[in-house]
Protein backbone atom coordinates (compact mmCIF):
# COMPACT_ATOMS: atom_id res chain seq x y z
CA UNK A 1 0.00 0.00 0.00
CA UNK A 2 0.99 3.68 -0.40
CA UNK A 3 0.44 6.28 2.28
CA UNK A 4 1.09 10.00 2.46
CA UNK A 5 3.82 11.10 4.90
CA UNK A 6 5.63 14.36 5.57
CA UNK A 7 9.37 13.76 5.38
CA UNK A 8 11.91 16.57 5.49
CA UNK A 9 9.23 19.16 4.89
CA UNK A 10 7.81 17.48 1.79
CA UNK A 11 4.60 15.50 1.32
CA UNK A 12 5.65 12.14 -0.05
CA UNK A 13 3.82 8.93 -0.80
CA UNK A 14 5.70 6.01 0.74
CA UNK A 15 5.13 2.36 0.00
CA UNK A 16 4.77 0.19 3.08
CA UNK A 17 2.92 -2.62 4.70
CA UNK A 18 1.00 -1.72 7.87
CA UNK A 19 3.12 -3.77 10.30
CA UNK A 20 6.40 -2.08 9.34
CA UNK A 21 8.45 0.18 11.52
CA UNK A 22 9.24 3.72 10.48
CA UNK A 23 12.89 2.73 10.10
CA UNK A 24 12.07 0.03 7.53
CA UNK A 25 9.68 2.24 5.62
CA UNK A 26 12.15 5.12 5.41
CA UNK A 27 15.04 2.93 4.28
CA UNK A 28 12.92 0.98 1.78
CA UNK A 29 11.87 4.31 0.27
CA UNK A 30 15.41 5.62 -0.17
CA UNK A 31 16.07 7.48 3.08
CA UNK A 32 19.21 5.43 3.75
CA UNK A 33 20.74 8.17 5.89
CA UNK A 34 18.57 6.62 8.62
CA UNK A 35 20.85 3.81 9.78
CA UNK A 36 19.69 0.38 10.86
CA UNK A 37 21.53 -0.80 13.97
CA UNK A 38 20.05 -2.94 16.72
CA UNK A 39 16.34 -2.57 15.86
CA UNK A 40 15.70 -2.89 19.59
CA UNK A 41 15.65 0.82 20.52
CA UNK A 42 19.02 0.55 22.22
CA UNK A 43 21.60 2.06 19.85
CA UNK A 44 20.05 5.23 18.44
CA UNK A 45 21.53 4.89 14.94
CA UNK A 46 18.00 5.03 13.49
CA UNK A 47 17.14 8.34 15.20
CA UNK A 48 14.83 10.74 13.37
CA UNK A 49 13.01 13.84 14.54
CA UNK A 50 9.28 13.51 15.01
CA UNK A 51 7.76 16.99 15.25
CA UNK A 52 11.21 18.12 16.37
CA UNK A 53 11.66 15.44 19.03
CA UNK A 54 14.39 12.79 18.69
CA UNK A 55 12.94 9.27 18.56
CA UNK A 56 14.16 5.78 17.61
CA UNK A 57 12.47 5.02 14.27
CA UNK A 58 12.90 1.27 14.83
CA UNK A 59 10.50 1.50 17.78
CA UNK A 60 7.75 3.31 15.93
CA UNK A 61 5.16 1.78 13.66
CA UNK A 62 5.12 3.93 10.55
CA UNK A 63 1.35 4.10 10.23
CA UNK A 64 1.06 5.70 13.66
CA UNK A 65 3.02 8.79 12.56
CA UNK A 66 1.66 9.36 9.08
CA UNK A 67 0.34 12.79 10.08
CA UNK A 68 3.51 13.95 11.82
CA UNK A 69 6.61 15.86 10.61
CA UNK A 70 9.48 13.41 10.12
CA UNK A 71 13.00 14.80 9.72
CA UNK A 72 16.11 12.82 8.83
CA UNK A 73 19.67 14.11 9.06
CA UNK A 74 19.55 15.19 5.39
CA UNK A 75 16.40 17.15 6.05
CA UNK A 76 18.04 18.90 8.96
CA UNK A 77 20.41 20.68 6.56
CA UNK A 78 17.48 21.97 4.46
CA UNK A 79 15.44 22.87 7.52
CA UNK A 80 17.91 25.24 9.10
CA UNK A 81 20.19 25.91 6.14
CA UNK A 82 23.01 25.15 8.53
CA UNK A 83 25.57 22.44 9.04
CA UNK A 84 26.83 23.73 12.37
CA UNK A 85 26.43 20.44 14.22
CA UNK A 86 27.99 18.11 11.59
CA UNK A 87 30.87 20.59 11.19
CA UNK A 88 31.44 20.61 14.92
CA UNK A 89 31.49 16.80 14.90
CA UNK A 90 34.07 16.78 12.09
CA UNK A 91 36.26 19.47 13.64
CA UNK A 92 36.44 17.89 17.07
CA UNK A 93 37.15 14.41 15.71
CA UNK A 94 33.84 13.06 16.96
CA UNK A 95 33.41 10.86 13.90
CA UNK A 96 35.18 7.63 13.05
CA UNK A 97 33.12 5.07 11.14
CA UNK A 98 30.22 7.52 11.03
CA UNK A 99 27.45 4.98 11.50
CA UNK A 100 26.12 6.55 14.69
CA UNK A 101 26.69 10.13 13.52
CA UNK A 102 23.28 10.86 11.91
CA UNK A 103 21.58 9.84 15.15
CA UNK A 104 24.07 11.77 17.26
CA UNK A 105 23.56 14.90 15.15
CA UNK A 106 19.78 14.71 15.36
CA UNK A 107 19.76 14.10 19.14
CA UNK A 108 22.17 17.03 19.54
CA UNK A 109 19.93 19.24 17.41
CA UNK A 110 16.85 18.31 19.44
CA UNK A 111 18.74 19.18 22.61
CA UNK A 112 20.15 22.50 21.41
CA UNK A 113 16.81 23.66 20.02
CA UNK A 114 15.28 23.49 23.49
CA UNK A 115 18.39 24.21 25.52
CA UNK A 116 20.94 26.43 23.72
CA UNK A 117 23.54 26.23 26.50
CA UNK A 118 23.39 22.74 27.98
CA UNK A 119 25.64 21.53 30.77
CA UNK A 120 27.82 18.48 30.22
CA UNK A 121 25.39 16.42 32.30
CA UNK A 122 22.49 17.57 30.11
CA UNK A 123 24.42 16.66 26.96
CA UNK A 124 25.15 13.18 28.33
CA UNK A 125 21.50 12.71 29.22
CA UNK A 126 20.29 13.90 25.80
CA UNK A 127 22.64 11.46 24.06
CA UNK A 128 22.05 8.54 26.40
CA UNK A 129 20.15 6.66 23.70
CA UNK A 130 22.89 7.04 21.06
CA UNK A 131 25.72 4.57 21.24
CA UNK A 132 29.11 4.97 19.54
CA UNK A 133 31.46 1.98 19.31
CA UNK A 134 34.48 3.87 17.94
CA UNK A 135 35.21 7.27 19.42
CA UNK A 136 34.32 7.03 23.05
CA UNK A 137 32.16 9.96 24.00
CA UNK A 138 34.58 12.71 24.98
CA UNK A 139 34.91 14.09 21.45
CA UNK A 140 31.18 13.84 20.89
CA UNK A 141 30.46 15.88 24.00
CA UNK A 142 33.08 18.41 22.87
CA UNK A 143 31.33 18.60 19.50
CA UNK A 144 27.96 19.37 21.07
CA UNK A 145 29.53 22.06 23.26
CA UNK A 146 31.20 23.62 20.21
CA UNK A 147 27.95 23.50 18.23
CA UNK A 148 26.13 25.15 21.15
CA UNK A 149 28.61 28.04 21.17
CA UNK A 150 28.37 28.50 17.40
CA UNK A 151 24.60 28.25 17.27
CA UNK A 152 24.43 30.81 20.07
CA UNK A 153 26.45 33.27 17.99
CA UNK A 154 24.21 32.95 14.92
Amino acid sequence: MNTLFTVNGRKVRLSLHPGQTLLRVLRDNGYTEVKCGCEEGECGSCTVLLDGEAVPSCQILAMSVRNREITTVKGLMDMDGTSVIPEAFAETGAVQCGFCTPGMVLSSYALLKGNPAPSEEEIKLALDGNICRCTGYIKIIEAVKLAAVRMGKK
Binding site: P18, G41, G44, T47, N130
Partner: protein
Protein backbone atom coordinates in the same frame (compact mmCIF):
# COMPACT_ATOMS: atom_id res chain seq x y z
CA UNK B 1 8.23 -6.65 12.89
CA UNK B 2 4.52 -7.27 13.23
CA UNK B 3 2.04 -9.03 10.98
CA UNK B 4 2.26 -7.58 7.44
CA UNK B 5 -1.50 -7.38 7.08
CA UNK B 6 -2.20 -5.71 10.39
CA UNK B 7 -5.21 -3.40 10.33
CA UNK B 8 -5.10 0.10 11.78
CA UNK B 9 -7.99 1.95 13.40
CA UNK B 10 -7.91 5.66 14.19
CA UNK B 11 -10.80 6.42 16.55
CA UNK B 12 -11.43 9.97 17.73
CA UNK B 13 -13.24 9.23 20.97
CA UNK B 14 -12.84 6.72 23.78
CA UNK B 15 -16.22 5.24 22.95
CA UNK B 16 -15.18 4.62 19.35
CA UNK B 17 -11.90 3.05 20.49
CA UNK B 18 -13.68 0.69 22.88
CA UNK B 19 -16.27 -0.21 20.23
CA UNK B 20 -13.48 -1.23 17.83
CA UNK B 21 -11.83 -3.29 20.53
CA UNK B 22 -15.09 -5.01 21.44
CA UNK B 23 -15.69 -6.02 17.84
CA UNK B 24 -12.12 -7.10 17.09
CA UNK B 25 -10.73 -9.51 19.67
CA UNK B 26 -7.16 -9.69 18.33
CA UNK B 27 -6.56 -5.94 18.37
CA UNK B 28 -4.51 -3.94 20.84
CA UNK B 29 -4.61 -0.32 21.90
CA UNK B 30 -1.58 1.56 20.55
CA UNK B 31 -0.03 4.66 22.15
CA UNK B 32 3.79 4.89 21.89
CA UNK B 33 4.12 1.38 20.48
CA UNK B 34 7.42 0.41 22.15
CA UNK B 35 5.85 -2.37 24.21
CA UNK B 36 3.85 -3.72 21.27
CA UNK B 37 6.94 -3.93 19.05
CA UNK B 38 8.85 -5.80 21.73
CA UNK B 39 6.32 -8.64 21.55
CA UNK B 40 7.02 -9.19 17.82
CA UNK B 41 3.68 -10.99 17.92
CA UNK B 42 2.22 -12.21 14.66
CA UNK B 43 -1.08 -12.83 16.43
CA UNK B 44 -1.95 -9.15 16.61
CA UNK B 45 -4.48 -8.56 13.85
CA UNK B 46 -5.16 -4.89 14.42
CA UNK B 47 -4.01 -1.79 16.29
CA UNK B 48 -6.24 0.95 17.67
CA UNK B 49 -4.25 4.16 17.66
CA UNK B 50 -5.07 6.41 20.62
CA UNK B 51 -3.24 9.54 19.51
CA UNK B 52 -6.40 11.42 18.49
CA UNK B 53 -8.03 10.88 21.89
CA UNK B 54 -7.90 13.66 24.43
CA UNK B 55 -5.61 11.76 26.79
CA UNK B 56 -2.40 13.78 26.53
CA UNK B 57 -2.23 16.15 29.50
CA UNK B 58 -0.58 16.75 32.85
CA UNK B 59 -2.56 19.08 35.05
CA UNK B 60 -3.30 19.96 38.63
CA UNK B 61 -6.91 19.68 39.74
CA UNK B 62 -7.64 20.39 43.39
CA UNK B 63 -5.50 18.09 45.48
CA UNK B 64 -4.52 15.86 42.58
CA UNK B 65 -2.19 15.75 39.61
CA UNK B 66 -3.84 14.11 36.61
CA UNK B 67 -1.68 12.54 33.93
CA UNK B 68 -3.36 11.43 30.71
CA UNK B 69 -2.58 7.93 29.49
CA UNK B 70 -0.85 9.01 26.27
CA UNK B 71 1.49 11.43 28.05
CA UNK B 72 5.09 10.38 27.52
CA UNK B 73 7.80 10.04 30.14
CA UNK B 74 9.56 13.02 28.54
CA UNK B 75 6.46 15.17 28.95
CA UNK B 76 6.35 14.21 32.62
CA UNK B 77 10.03 15.17 32.98
CA UNK B 78 9.47 18.54 31.30
CA UNK B 79 6.29 19.62 33.06
CA UNK B 80 6.52 22.89 34.94
CA UNK B 81 4.30 21.70 37.81
CA UNK B 82 6.31 21.61 41.01
CA UNK B 83 4.27 19.45 43.39
CA UNK B 84 6.46 17.03 45.37
CA UNK B 85 4.61 13.91 44.25
CA UNK B 86 5.22 14.88 40.63
CA UNK B 87 8.89 15.59 41.39
CA UNK B 88 9.13 12.09 42.80
CA UNK B 89 7.59 10.64 39.65
CA UNK B 90 9.93 12.74 37.51
CA UNK B 91 12.86 11.31 39.45
CA UNK B 92 11.61 7.81 38.72
CA UNK B 93 10.93 8.10 34.99
CA UNK B 94 13.79 10.44 34.09
CA UNK B 95 16.22 7.51 33.98
CA UNK B 96 13.92 5.02 32.29
CA UNK B 97 15.15 3.68 28.95
CA UNK B 98 16.88 6.54 27.16
CA UNK B 99 15.93 10.03 26.04
CA UNK B 100 14.86 8.59 22.67
CA UNK B 101 12.65 5.99 24.30
CA UNK B 102 11.28 8.37 26.93
CA UNK B 103 9.99 10.46 24.03
CA UNK B 104 7.79 7.49 23.08
CA UNK B 105 7.01 5.52 26.25
CA UNK B 106 3.60 6.47 27.63
CA UNK B 107 2.01 6.17 31.04
CA UNK B 108 -0.85 4.04 29.74
CA UNK B 109 1.40 1.70 27.80
CA UNK B 110 3.63 1.19 30.82
CA UNK B 111 0.67 0.33 33.04
CA UNK B 112 -0.56 -2.32 30.61
CA UNK B 113 2.85 -3.68 29.70
CA UNK B 114 4.27 -3.63 33.25
CA UNK B 115 7.70 -5.17 32.61
CA UNK B 116 9.60 -6.13 35.77
CA UNK B 117 12.27 -3.52 34.98
CA UNK B 118 9.77 -0.66 34.81
CA UNK B 119 10.90 2.44 36.70
CA UNK B 120 7.31 3.56 37.15
CA UNK B 121 5.61 1.24 39.59
CA UNK B 122 7.56 1.52 42.84
CA UNK B 123 6.89 5.27 42.82
CA UNK B 124 3.22 5.00 41.87
CA UNK B 125 2.70 2.38 44.58
CA UNK B 126 4.48 4.54 47.15
CA UNK B 127 2.39 7.57 46.35
CA UNK B 128 -0.85 5.61 46.51
CA UNK B 129 -1.61 6.69 42.94
CA UNK B 130 -4.97 5.88 41.35
CA UNK B 131 -5.85 5.24 37.75
CA UNK B 132 -9.02 5.25 35.75
CA UNK B 133 -9.78 2.89 32.91
CA UNK B 134 -12.63 2.05 30.61
CA UNK B 135 -13.89 -1.50 30.27
CA UNK B 136 -15.29 -3.12 27.13
CA UNK B 137 -18.81 -2.36 28.35
CA UNK B 138 -17.78 1.35 28.38
CA UNK B 139 -17.99 1.67 32.16
CA UNK B 140 -15.23 3.73 33.78
CA UNK B 141 -13.57 2.36 36.88
CA UNK B 142 -11.13 3.93 39.32
CA UNK B 143 -8.75 1.99 41.52
CA UNK B 144 -5.34 2.28 43.08
CA UNK B 145 -2.34 1.14 41.07
CA UNK B 146 -1.86 -1.56 43.69
CA UNK B 147 -5.40 -2.84 43.13
CA UNK B 148 -4.88 -2.69 39.38
CA UNK B 149 -1.79 -4.88 39.66
CA UNK B 150 -3.50 -7.30 42.04
CA UNK B 151 -6.72 -7.65 40.08
CA UNK B 152 -6.91 -10.50 37.63
CA UNK B 153 -7.91 -8.26 34.78
CA UNK B 154 -7.30 -9.13 31.18
CA UNK B 155 -5.31 -5.94 30.87
CA UNK B 156 -5.29 -5.71 27.09
CA UNK B 157 -9.07 -5.31 27.28
CA UNK B 158 -8.98 -2.12 29.31
CA UNK B 159 -8.38 1.37 28.01
CA UNK B 160 -6.29 3.30 30.52
CA UNK B 161 -7.51 6.90 30.72
CA UNK B 162 -5.38 8.62 33.33
CA UNK B 163 -3.19 8.29 36.40
CA UNK B 164 -4.03 10.40 39.44
CA UNK B 165 -1.35 11.41 41.92
CA UNK B 166 -2.28 12.87 45.29
CA UNK B 167 -0.74 16.23 46.16
CA UNK B 168 0.92 15.65 49.51
CA UNK B 169 2.20 18.35 51.85
CA UNK B 170 5.62 17.97 53.49
CA UNK B 171 6.47 14.96 51.37
CA UNK B 172 9.97 13.61 51.63
CA UNK B 173 11.09 10.90 49.25
CA UNK B 174 13.81 9.12 47.39
CA UNK B 175 13.91 6.79 44.42
CA UNK B 176 16.72 4.36 43.69
CA UNK B 177 17.40 1.93 40.86
CA UNK B 178 19.96 -0.85 40.82
CA UNK B 179 21.63 -1.27 37.44
CA UNK B 180 24.77 -2.95 36.13
CA UNK B 181 25.90 0.33 34.53
CA UNK B 182 24.45 3.82 34.74
CA UNK B 183 22.47 3.67 31.46
CA UNK B 184 20.83 0.30 31.86
CA UNK B 185 17.51 -1.29 32.65
CA UNK B 186 17.17 -1.65 36.40
CA UNK B 187 17.45 -4.98 38.17
CA UNK B 188 15.09 -3.57 40.76
CA UNK B 189 13.58 -0.25 41.79
CA UNK B 190 13.12 1.13 45.25
CA UNK B 191 10.92 4.05 46.23
CA UNK B 192 10.33 5.66 49.59
CA UNK B 193 8.03 8.48 50.61
CA UNK B 194 6.70 9.79 53.89
CA UNK B 195 5.37 12.89 55.56
CA UNK B 196 7.71 15.05 57.57
CA UNK B 197 5.90 15.52 60.86
CA UNK B 198 6.95 18.18 63.36
CA UNK B 199 7.11 16.97 66.96
CA UNK B 200 6.53 19.06 70.09
CA UNK B 201 10.24 19.50 70.76
CA UNK B 202 10.81 21.02 67.32
CA UNK B 203 12.17 17.80 65.92
CA UNK B 204 10.87 16.18 62.77
CA UNK B 205 9.73 12.60 62.51
CA UNK B 206 8.67 10.30 59.72
CA UNK B 207 4.93 9.90 59.28
CA UNK B 208 2.99 7.43 57.15
CA UNK B 209 6.01 5.97 55.37
CA UNK B 210 5.52 3.93 52.20
CA UNK B 211 8.35 1.77 50.87
CA UNK B 212 7.99 -0.31 47.73
CA UNK B 213 10.41 -2.36 45.70
CA UNK B 214 9.74 -3.76 42.21
CA UNK B 215 11.75 -6.36 40.32
CA UNK B 216 11.16 -8.93 43.06
CA UNK B 217 9.24 -12.20 43.00
CA UNK B 218 5.54 -11.49 42.37
CA UNK B 219 6.54 -8.13 40.81
CA UNK B 220 6.37 -5.82 43.82
CA UNK B 221 6.72 -5.89 47.56
CA UNK B 222 5.83 -3.37 50.23
CA UNK B 223 8.47 -3.28 52.96
CA UNK B 224 5.88 -3.16 55.74
CA UNK B 225 8.25 -4.20 58.53
CA UNK B 226 10.61 -1.35 57.75
CA UNK B 227 7.64 1.04 57.43
CA UNK B 228 6.39 0.07 60.89
CA UNK B 229 9.85 0.36 62.38
CA UNK B 230 10.55 3.90 61.22
CA UNK B 231 7.02 5.29 61.47
CA UNK B 232 6.75 8.18 63.90
CA UNK B 233 10.51 8.07 64.56
CA UNK B 234 13.14 10.74 64.20
CA UNK B 235 15.67 9.56 61.66
CA UNK B 236 19.29 9.46 62.74
CA UNK B 237 22.27 7.24 61.93
CA UNK B 238 21.42 4.74 64.67
CA UNK B 239 17.83 4.36 63.50
CA UNK B 240 19.00 3.83 59.91
CA UNK B 241 21.35 1.04 60.99
CA UNK B 242 18.58 -0.61 63.00
CA UNK B 243 16.11 -0.24 60.17
CA UNK B 244 18.26 -2.33 57.84
CA UNK B 245 17.38 -5.39 59.93
CA UNK B 246 13.76 -4.91 58.88
CA UNK B 247 14.41 -4.74 55.14
CA UNK B 248 13.57 -7.96 53.39
CA UNK B 249 12.43 -8.99 49.91
CA UNK B 250 12.44 -12.17 47.87
CA UNK B 251 14.46 -11.88 44.67
CA UNK B 252 14.97 -14.30 41.81
CA UNK B 253 18.61 -15.00 40.94
CA UNK B 254 19.59 -14.31 37.34
CA UNK B 255 22.73 -14.69 35.23
CA UNK B 256 24.17 -11.46 36.60
CA UNK B 257 23.24 -11.42 40.28
CA UNK B 258 22.26 -13.88 42.97
CA UNK B 259 19.16 -13.30 45.12
CA UNK B 260 21.30 -12.61 48.22
CA UNK B 261 23.38 -10.05 46.38
CA UNK B 262 20.26 -8.24 45.20
CA UNK B 263 18.95 -8.10 48.77
CA UNK B 264 22.29 -6.73 49.91
CA UNK B 265 22.09 -4.03 47.25
CA UNK B 266 18.51 -3.25 48.25
CA UNK B 267 19.65 -2.64 51.83
CA UNK B 268 22.58 -0.58 50.64
CA UNK B 269 20.42 1.65 48.41
CA UNK B 270 17.79 1.99 51.13
CA UNK B 271 20.42 3.10 53.61
CA UNK B 272 21.87 5.53 51.08
CA UNK B 273 18.43 7.03 50.45
CA UNK B 274 17.59 7.46 54.14
CA UNK B 275 20.97 9.08 54.78
CA UNK B 276 20.25 11.54 52.01
CA UNK B 277 17.08 12.53 53.85
CA UNK B 278 18.87 13.15 57.16
CA UNK B 279 19.03 16.97 56.77
CA UNK B 280 15.21 16.99 56.80
CA UNK B 281 15.26 15.87 60.42
CA UNK B 282 17.53 18.52 61.86
CA UNK B 283 15.81 20.28 64.74
CA UNK B 284 14.75 23.84 63.91
CA UNK B 285 14.55 26.86 66.23
CA UNK B 286 10.80 27.58 66.08
CA UNK B 287 8.96 25.25 68.43
Amino acid sequence: MLNREIKWYFPETEEEAVAVKRENVDTLYHAGGTGILRTKSQKIKGLIDLSALDLNYIKKEGNTIRIGATSTYSQICKTSLTEASLQMLKGAVSRAGSTLLRNRITMGGSLIDAPYWSDLFSTLLCLGAHLTYRRLDLTVETCTVKEFLDRRLKKENVLIREVILPVKEDLIFFVRRFTRVFFDYPVFNLAFCAKRVKKKGGEYAIGEPAIFVTGVKRFYRELTEAEEFINNNIVDSRLIEECMKHVDAEFTPDRNFGAEYKLLMLKSLFKDGLEELLPNFIKTGDQ
